[in-house]
Amino acid sequence: MLLDREPPPGYLADSTARVAETRQQKLPGGQGLVIFRVAAEWLALPTAVFQEVVEMRPIHSLPHRQNRVVKGLVAIRGQLQICVSFAELLGLDTLAVSKDNLARRTVPRLLVTAHQSGNAVFPVDEVQVGYRYHPTELKPLPATVSLTAARFSRGLLAWRDCNVGVLDEELLFYTLNHHLA
């Protein structure tokens, strides 16, 4: 009964347009991204640098470290890896968000990444499933974006109703490795 109903007026035309539009957008040369949230910022990294996304677990801090970029060591698949704070590395404001977190009941996760210069694990507040985009979809960064965070982004991507900063993984790991030493 339900399925036999007539579609509402304009529905077909609307769907057709939407399907046709999506087709056009998916140009060859697209890139996979994993989108995640750190504090109030939505960020993304190419799927290629991801090993896995795992649940939160104990992070052991390191003595004699004033450097807050390194949060400590965390066990991933039985091996201890360096756990790094995105907020400290990118200079993000973490204070504004705690309320938002409580309201949205999100699940914090650990992003396990691998780069030729070494692995790193990043705690994030929320992870979204993968997303494919084409470099032409990237918008330039508006001047209002804080300078520190902008340094690490290739550009902005419109996703749902937010702007996602697509991080430059080479720059990210380069900076990270300099912070480690």
Partner: protein
């Protein structure tokens, strides 16, 4: 060279360095032959050649400087991809290494042998290497007779029952990591199976409720429909109970199997790190034969327990101390053939090297049948060097006497020999064995021989440790390194001169808060009782106050990501049985940190009470990857009253300046890990350190190099080519003045 320095001593240091660098060259040349494009090997080769060039230039060995220079150029070209070093080129470079070794080993007074006509083979070699660097094909060079290549005859593969495979240690570590993860995962199953029991109990309650309901209903008369429904419900509840019981039993069996499997996997992964003793002893028979011949002695090495297994890391690190013990036995232990015959022994001396397992430890002994150690001579040497009070020396037992042989610089010989009397004597063996968490003992019988016994852990990858909580997180202390752990009521703390002590076994032991020591924020341990871990030796014994004891645990040691560098006070990390990380504390580091903390605090108090401070001397940090250069600069500055610290590369230097106060840094440019320019930039960028003067000493004497150093923020640029002690001293005086702090 300044006559202030003991020329012989410098030459010894130089020789040691040449040996180390030559071994690096040989090893990496051989590795490069396997994989000619590996830039990592080329990098090591380039550095080794560079270091040799620097060291030999200090020693005024111009021929060696030239040869090392050509080699360095050749490696640099290969690094840039200009040439690929094939087998012929490696052959030639290996012969060049032999030549370098020959020059370095030539006693100083005979160095003239390499001048004039003697320099021809070296010059021919230099031309050859230049040709390689230019990518020309090689014309075979006539090899001088004294440099005959080593015959591979005695390297025939030993009969092995199983085929050996080469596996990288990284992949073994990952395997071990996965095995320990699966062990942790399997432990999760048992509690989960137990949680099913709760479900079972709940279902039983449900059945009982249905039962009482059914009784209540039957008492109140019949309703066919309700009775039928109730019976069905009871039946269904029964089915659920049976199903859960079955599943629970299956899950329990599975948990058992899985934990068995995980345990076996884990043990096997650990065992794969073990190697037979024979793998580390291949070179020894040849070494003994060659050395004996050069000393005019006859000796044979017998190796026992070749199948005894040990951790591959232990095996690798044993090579140096065992080589040292063999040299020692040949040089000091065994007599000359005539002497032996006169004593009624076979003219050929016998050295027995044996490896065996005993009570969970690895025991390695090196026993010779030589003259033994003359205890009276040791006593005399102790007296001569005034290492103990005269009345005490007479009372020392034989064991205590022999302990003195492990002291740095303690040598029975007045004359330094090339073979083993290196001024650095058995202390090297002692330190290396200590670093492996082991012990070394000497036993000797006059006329019958001397034996060294090394007691080592079977593996470095498993550690028995005491788990404690510091600042809310778990830490581990190696059991072998601590003396005791105890709980002490707060009331037993005494205060002397503002410092806290406890009395333990009649000894006053200083108290230190672990959180403070490690720079971790957190409340001071509360409660009526303090949990204390006691470690160190008499005089440097301390009690570390932790928040609580978790108990004893066997840990599988994991190295910490090398990108983090050495973390002060931490040796490694591990996983707890629940999969959480734990850091392993390094007791030697802790003791040093405490001493720094204590002396710092002490100074502060003296200052506040207005007492006179002892005159502080200015401190200079010397950063250079060449042992020779480092020692030369250390002695020069030390002789002029400065307190000198050394660092082996830029990273080491960077750690040193951040943790200790210095008035000046003197650094080389080309160094592994972190080069001098980067070190200068780091210092100059650090708000606390930017005022610290830095002097660069480099071979690079082009104006562009000088400018690069000064641009990075260096306060002075001195070239090693024109290296004069006066120039260095003048520069130091210019920068920070004389050694006495004003």
């Amino acid at each position: 060279m300044n006559e202030d320095f003991n020329q012989k001593e410098m030459m010894e240091l130089f020789r040691q360095e040449a040996e180390t660098q030559n071994a690096l060259l040989t090893k990496n040349l051989l590795a490069l032959e396997q994989d000619p494009t590996d830039v990592a090997h080329l990098e090591v080769l380039m550095r080794a050649a560079h270091s040799l060039k620097g060291a030999s230039s200090i020693m005024d060995l111009h021929l060696m400087v030239g040869l090392a220079h050509e080699m360095e150029e050749c490696f640099v070209t290969a690094q840039k991809g200009g040439i690929v070093l094939g087998s012929e080129a490696i052959d030639c470079l290996l012969r060049a290494v032999d030549l370098l070794a020959s020059i370095a080993q030539t006693p100083e007074e005979q160095q003239t042998a390499w001048t004039g006509a003697g320099s021809a083979p070296v010059e021919a070699m230099m031309a050859q290497i230049k040709a390689i660097a230019q990518g020309q094909t090689l014309v075979p060079l006539k090899v001088p007779t004294e440099m005959k290549s080593t015959a591979p005859a005695d390297l025939a593969p030993t009969e092995a029952s199983e085929r050996m495979l080469r596996v990288t240690s990284g992949s073994l570590n990952r395997l071990l990591g996965l095995a320990s993860e699966s062990l942790v995962a399997s432990r999760w199953l048992t509690p989960y199976a137990e949680s099913l029991l709760r479900l079972k109990r709940q279902q039983w309650k449900l059945a009982k409720t249905l039962d009482t309901l059914s009784q209540a209903l039957s008492a109140g008369g019949h309703d066919e429909v309700i009775s039928a429904r109730l019976a069905a419900a009871e039946q269904q509840a029964g089915a659920c109970q049976r199903a859960v019981a079955e599943r629970h039993a299956e899950l329990e069996a599975f948990a058992r199997r899985s934990s068995n499997l995980a345990n076996n996997l884990y043990r096997e992964a650990l065992a794969s790190r073990m190697r037979p003793f024979a793998d580390g002893t291949e070179g020894f028979p040849r070494l003994v034969r060659d050395l004996a011949r050069s000393l005019g002695k006859a000796a044979r090495l017998q190796i026992k327990g070749e199948t005894t297994t040990m951790d591959r890391e232990v095996l690798e690190k044993l090579e140096a101390p065992l080589t040292h013990l063999l040299r020692n036995a040949l040089d000091h232990g065994l007599e000359l053939p005539a002497e032996r015959q006169a004593a009624g022994k076979s003219p050929e001396g016998l050295i027995v090297m044996e490896a065996r397992h005993s009570a969970g430890r690895l025991i390695i002994s090196v026993q010779d049948d030589g003259r033994g150690i003359d205890c009276a001579a040791v006593r005399a040497a102790i007296r001569r060097r005034q290492l103990a009070a005269p009345e005490l020396i007479e009372k020392l037992s034989e064991d205590e006497l022999l302990e003195f042989l492990f002291l740095p610089g303690f040598s029975m010989r007045e004359q330094v020999t090339e073979i083993s009397g290196r001024g650095v004597g058995l202390d090297v063996v002692h330190n290396m064995v200590h670093a492996l968490r082991g012990q070394v003992r000497i036993s000797t019988q006059p006329g019958k021989g001397t034996g060294f016994q090394l007691q080592l852990p079977l593996t470095l990858s498993v550690l028995r440790a005491l788990l404690v909580e510091i600042a809310g997180e778990p830490y581990a202390l190696p059991l072998a390194r601590i003396q005791s752990a105890l709980k002490v009521p707060r009331s037993q703390i005494e205060t002397i001169e503002g410092r806290e002590y406890i009395s333990h076994n009649g000894e006053q032991i200083g108290l230190v808060s672990a959180g403070q020591l490690l720079g971790l924020a957190g409340p001071a341990p509360g409660g009526e009782e303090l949990s204390l871990v006691i470690f160190g030796e008499r005089g440097t014994r301390f009690a570390l106050a932790v928040e609580r004891f978790y108990g004893e645990q066997e840990l599988v040691v994991q190295p910490i990501d090398p990108r983090l560098n050495k973390i002060q006070d931490i040796s490694a990390a591990a996983l707890l049985p629940d999969g959480a990380p734990v850091l392993i504390l390094e007791v030697e580091d802790l003791i040093r940190s405490i001493e720094v903390l204590v002396s710092g605090g002490h100074l502060n108090k003296l200052r506040s009470s207005g007492a006179v401070l002892t005159q502080r001397r200015k401190r200079v940090l010397v950063v250079d990857d060449s042992l020779t250069v480092r020692e030369l600069e250390r002695k020069l500055l030390g002789n002029h009253g400065y307190e000198v610290g050394v660092a082996v590369d830029g990273m080491d230097g960077w750690n040193a300046v951040r943790t200790q106060p210095y008035d000046l840094v003197v650094t080389d440019v080309d160094m592994p890990r972190l080069d001098g320019i980067e070190l200068v930039s780091l210092i100059k960028k650090d708000p606390r350190l930017k005022k610290l003067p830095v002097m660069i000493i480099s071979y690079k004497d082009r104006e562009a190099d000088r400018q690069r150093g000064l641009d990075a923020g260096a306060d002075y640029y001195l070239t090693k080519g024109t290296f004069h002690e006066e120039a260095l001293l003048t520069a130091v005086l210019d920068l920070i003045g004389s050694a006495e702090a004003e």
